[in-house]
């Protein structure tokens, strides 16, 4: 129970700090800011959590239990940062499903769907975002990749093609 208390306390405080920060001012690079807040903030708050566990009259945590708490903070942070990318930028699939489910219509036809997507230029928006982030370069109407490590994209494609043996392009 002491692990649960320490973990709940750390995540609760960090999430409240995140909400307060985001209400006051949105960071320019939101996902890296979230990672720093939860990982660095988690380490900074460890002694506070240890003190609260002791003050609650529970047995002090062993080093193995602290590792368990750290793993919990890390796992939650990764899951939340992944979710956050769907908050920052709309998911085309989820937007589509919500549109089809709205209004109690007897289904949605292809023309209505095309009109819906026309108002939401997902591909153009991602192209602009990639250029803003310096990953793509546009020169004389041609797009090319900038010199960039693209570690995550490479890992995603390697896992998809080599580990899962999926050959289609996705997207």
């Amino acid at each position: 129970m002491n692990v649960l208390l320490a973990l709940g306390l750390l995540l609760g405080v960090l999430f409240l700090v995140h909400l307060a920060w985001w209400r006051i001012r949105l960071p320019r690079r939101q996902r890296p800011a979230l990672l720093v807040l939860f990982l660095v903030g988690g380490v900074v708050l460890f002694p506070v959590a240890a003190w609260v566990v002791q003050a609650a009259g529970l047995q002090p945590l062993t080093w193995i239990q602290w590792l368990n708490v750290a793993m919990g903070v890390l796992a939650f942070t990764l899951a939340y940062v992944v979710t956050y990318s769907a908050l920052e930028a709309d998911s085309p699939t989820l937007s589509l499903l919500r549109y089809i489910s709205e209004g109690g219509r007897p289904g949605v036809g292809t023309e209505e769907l095309a009109a819906f997507i026309e108002k939401r230029p997902f591909v153009a928006a991602r192209l602009s975002a990639l250029m803003e982030e310096g990953m793509l370069i546009e020169e004389a109407g041609r797009y090319r990749l900038a010199v960039h490590p693209y570690r995550l994209f490479r890992l995603v494609l390697f896992h998809r093609e080599v580990v899962l043996c999926m050959r289609n392009h996705g997207g």
């Binding site: 692990v3 649960l4 368990n68 990764l78 939401r120 041609r142 392009h169």
Partner: protein
Amino acid sequence: MSEELPQIIHLVAPVAGLAVMCGMHAMMCRMNPHAPLLNALAGAGMVGLVVVFLAGVAAAWSGGDWLISGLSALLVDLPIYGCLAYGYANFVNLGQSSVRVRIYRELLDAGVTGVAGEALRATYDEQSMLQARLERLVAAGDLRLDAGRYMIGQRRLLVIAAVIFGLKRAILGRRSEFMP
């Protein structure tokens, strides 16, 4: 060591569950390449869940208190495993449906000369993205196609959509990136 063993098992349980999930998922994809992505992930995730449950039993059996071990497995190990499994599922989904990864792949295939804007739009634009998604959603049973009209099939992704759009409003105060 006997006192620490249950704690070590609780520490390792979510990672072991995730490792088994990844292995099972790779095996399922190789055995049935055309299976809907979400179904393969859910199946592999359930196997990982069983591993976490068995680890909880092993922790109790190795000298831990049955009640404490049960509660630890339920309230700490399972949520940690849930977060790790969710992260893996999203990692896999990036390859399947991320617009950015798809653009990266098109440009990677084009090499150093890159690709003309018109050629890129001819291969991958909003309409082809829409078509690919509709096909996947129908194949997975999330949508039904009846007399040329798309209807909701299974509601599982709608639950996720409700959570995501609710969080978006609560944290960012907007409904959509295109409609602030």
